[in-house]
């Protein structure tokens, strides 16, 4: 949409002419304050990530100067970021794809068929979400140690899939329940198998919730390093979130360097969000009502 069409829009013109009442002024003040309060830490980190530690140590953080790009280059090299970004991709991509694949299948059966176990299964999936992950750390650690899967990406991926499938199944089954029954009935009459109904009828309609869940799952799995730190022991297999720890010394931490690293680590989730933003917003509300 171009700016020209925006100004021609009658509604917008009305909004522009709307009188500034005291309540409106108050609203704007409130909204601006909240926005600044939320954005300030991020901008502060971004600002200081471009500054030299020696300068801020001498002059304090409330100062202007000492600008440099070195923090980014140093963070990338010292934090071993190239390798760790790759590790995060190795963990996140299969985990998200398999989670979504499994949960669409589970949700399809739970939502579209009437088995006696549908409700108990759905309760189980939802209840398992409430289980604190930490409670399972020791049994899982021992199990993986017994089968020799410690220090192996697979252990982290499998645990992520197991924990995330419940939530995704819950959301997807709500969405699929809202799809008209007649869609699959018509396919059934035409002789479509269950697989075909799932793969060719229902799944293409789930694009919006899948995008929404995709964004959430990528963010959660990418940001997690609890399981990675629990199961991986080789420093060069850790995900990028632990790369930030690489930028901290045993005692001394260059906080400007750490800010530069944090900004870089945050970029992929922001990119994913903006790419899928449209579907994300519509996907969040799509399952909410039974249309």
């Amino acid at each position: 949409m171009s700016t020209a069409t925006v100004t021609k829009d009658p509604e917008v013109r009305v909004a522009q002419k709307r009188k500034l009442t005291p309540t409106r002024v108050l609203l704007y003040v409130f909204l601006t304050t909240m926005a600044v309060a939320w954005l300030f830490p991020v901008f502060w980190a971004a600002y200081n990530s471009f500054r030299d530690y020696a300068y801020t140590a001498q002059n304090g953080y409330v100062s202007f100067g000492g600008f440099t790009l070195d923090n980014y280059a140093k963070a990338w090299a010292d934090g071993n970021f190239a390798q760790l970004f790759l590790n995060s991709a190795i963990i996140t991509i299969p985990a998200v794809i398999v989670t979504l694949f499994f949960s669409t299948m589970a949700a399809f059966v739970l939502a579209r068929f009437s088995f006696w176990f549908n409700l108990p299964m759905l309760i189980l999936f939802t209840a398992a979400n409430l289980l604190p992950q930490q409670a399972l750390l020791i049994p899982l650690f021992r199990m993986f140690r017994e089968v020799g899967m410690l220090d192996n990406y697979l252990s982290v991926i499998v645990v992520h899939i197991a924990f995330q499938t419940g939530f995704c199944t819950f959301v997807l089954s709500n969405f699929m329940k809202a799809l008209p029954q007649s869609l699959t009935e018509a396919a059934l009459v035409d002789g479509a198998s269950v697989w075909r109904q799932y793969w060719q009828i229902i799944l293409p309609l789930c694009r919006a919730p899948l995008a929404a869940l995709g964004v959430l799952q990528v963010t959660w799995i990418y940001n997690d390093f609890f399981w990675a730190v629990a199961f991986l022991t080789s420093g060069d297999k850790f995900p990028i979130t632990s790369g930030l720890q690489n930028l901290r010394g045993q005692f001394f931490t260059d906080y400007n360097l750490l800010s530069a690293g944090s900004i870089m680590v945050a970029i992929p989730t922001i990119v994913i969000f903006f790419v899928l933003q449209k579907q994300f917003v519509s996907g969040l509300t799509l399952g909410a009502d039974k249309g």
């Binding site: 190795i90 650690f141 140690r145 990406y153 269950v194 010394g249 005692f251």
Partner: protein, 437 residues
């Protein structure tokens, strides 16, 4: 067609009526799935141990220590032909993870600390004694180092590499400008603090937000007031925390607190060091690593330290806090000969020299050439060489669970409310009893 009520029949019902479902998965899809699973499994690199390689678990991921170790291992390869496979984890994760790391498949040689904190892993059989290495290289280290590296049975379990002392740091330029002199004893120290307050300087920089820096102050006060032996016994759970001796330490600390920077609980050590750097504070009790806060060159050259002063002439100031970092040997290593070779090399003056050339620590090996040291390194080496006893810092001299779950919160409670000494000491004693058993 009228819409039937309810959902579709279940597949089993369908099968009954129509005589079976078609296979939902085609062969191609199955093969594709299988291939991707195999690819996943392939992500785990597994192989037989290489006889020409030694696996080393490192906690050095920062640029300078990493480069220093790379240089050491390059020299090791040139000397012996053995490669070192370095598995580097950042120091914070490494320390948090050490338990699960050692229970999994640890590296043959791994970085750790001397003192009480090493003994636990040897006790439970995760690390092995290295008396056979010490028999060969023991002359390279002082007796104080040997003691710090032994288990309770007197076997050596750690190989020391480098150390850094704790002391009272100051800016020589500030001392010179104001005509201050180095305090030798408590009364000198107190009058120096008062002089500083008179000139508008905050006498002692102090940050306790990290939890551990204040342990250094406690350790020194305890060693100066009650002596080294009492301190070590207290750390080992053999003395009482609610004793008059410990209370005297807290009382003394309470008297000195007005000279400390206010609001310490909300300040990290780096922020406290910054106040020394910017000339707002006069002194700071911390480890040598404080110099990392100061930019190399002029800023760092204007930094010096003196030994923590004597509080009681009959006890003196001979005990110095100098944590030693070193290596431990995994129990049942994959390449025992290679691991021994590596430990022997790391103990040598040659290896320690290569390391400290890049990372300005102080080498543990007494034969190391000190000509390349900067003034602070030389002074540190002298301080420790002349020390009667060396302590390792509270979180290494006592059980880690006591240090983390009892000492940190209780010391912070003391700083928040210095009047509650009796309450704090009896609470620490009760918790010590339950931890040490």
């Amino acid at each position: 067609m009228p819409r039937p009520p309810g959902k579709m029949p279940s597949p089993t019902a369908l099968r009954r009526s129509s005589g079976g479902l078609r296979t939902p998965l085609s062969r191609r899809t199955l093969l594709r799935g299988g291939a991707s699973l195999a690819g996943l499994a392939g992500l785990s690199a597994c192989g037989a141990p290489d006889p020409n390689a030694v696996r080393y678990g490192s906690r050095s991921t920062e640029a300078i220590p990493k480069e220093a170790f790379d240089n050491v291992f390059a020299a090791f390869k040139a000397e012996t032909g053995l490669t070192v496979d370095v598995n580097a984890t950042d120091p914070n994760t490494y320390q948090e993870q050490i338990n699960s790391y050692l229970q999994g498949n640890p590296d043959d040689v791994f970085a750790w600390f001397a003192g009480f904190r090493a003994r636990f892993f040897e006790d439970v059989g995760l690390a092995a004694p290295m008396t056979h290495i010490w028999d060969e290289v023991g002359d390279n280290f002082t007796d104080a180092f040997r003691t710090a590296c032994q288990n309770e049975a007197g076997q050596e379990i750690v190989l020391p590499f480098y150390y850094y002392p704790w002391a009272v740091f100051y800016r020589p330029s500030v001392f010179e400008a104001n005509g201050y002199s180095i305090p030798e004893n408590l009364s000198d120290f107190e009058s120096l603090c008062e002089d500083m307050q008179d000139t508008g300087l905050n006498p002692i920089a102090f940050g306790a937000a990290d939890g551990w820096p204040q342990m250094g102050t406690f350790d020194y006060l305890n060693m100066r007031i009650n002596g080294y032996d009492f301190h070590i016994e207290l750390m080992a759970g053999q003395q009482r925390w609610d004793s008059e001796e410990v209370k005297a330490v807290f009382e003394q600390w309470k008297d000195l607190l007005p000279y400390h920077q206010e609001g310490a609980l909300g300040r990290t050590w780096q922020e406290a060091a910054q106040s020394l750097q910017q000339g707002e504070s006069g002194m700071y009790v911390l480890g040598l690593f404080v110099n990392q806060q100061f930019a190399e060159g002029e800023d760092r050259e204007d930094l010096d330290f003196f030994n923590f002063p004597e509080f009681n002439p009959s006890i003196g100031a001979g005990a110095v806090e100098a944590p030693i970092d070193g290596f431990m040997l995994r129990n049942d290593p994959e390449n025992p000969e290679g691991a021994d070779e590596l430990l022997r090399f790391l103990a040598s003056a040659q290896a320690q020299q290569i390391y400290v050339d890049t990372d300005p620590q102080i080498a543990a090996n007494v034969e190391t050439d000190t000509s390349g040291y900067d003034p602070l390194q030389i002074k540190s080496a002298e301080l420790v060489a002349n020390a009667d006893n060396i302590s390792q810092f509270m979180d290494r001299d006592t059980r880690p669970d006591f240090a983390a779950t009892v000492a940190i919160p209780e010391l912070q409670r003391f700083l928040a409310n210095p009047e509650a000494i009796t309450d704090i000491t009896s609470s620490m004693q009760a918790q010590a009893e339950s931890i040490f058993g």
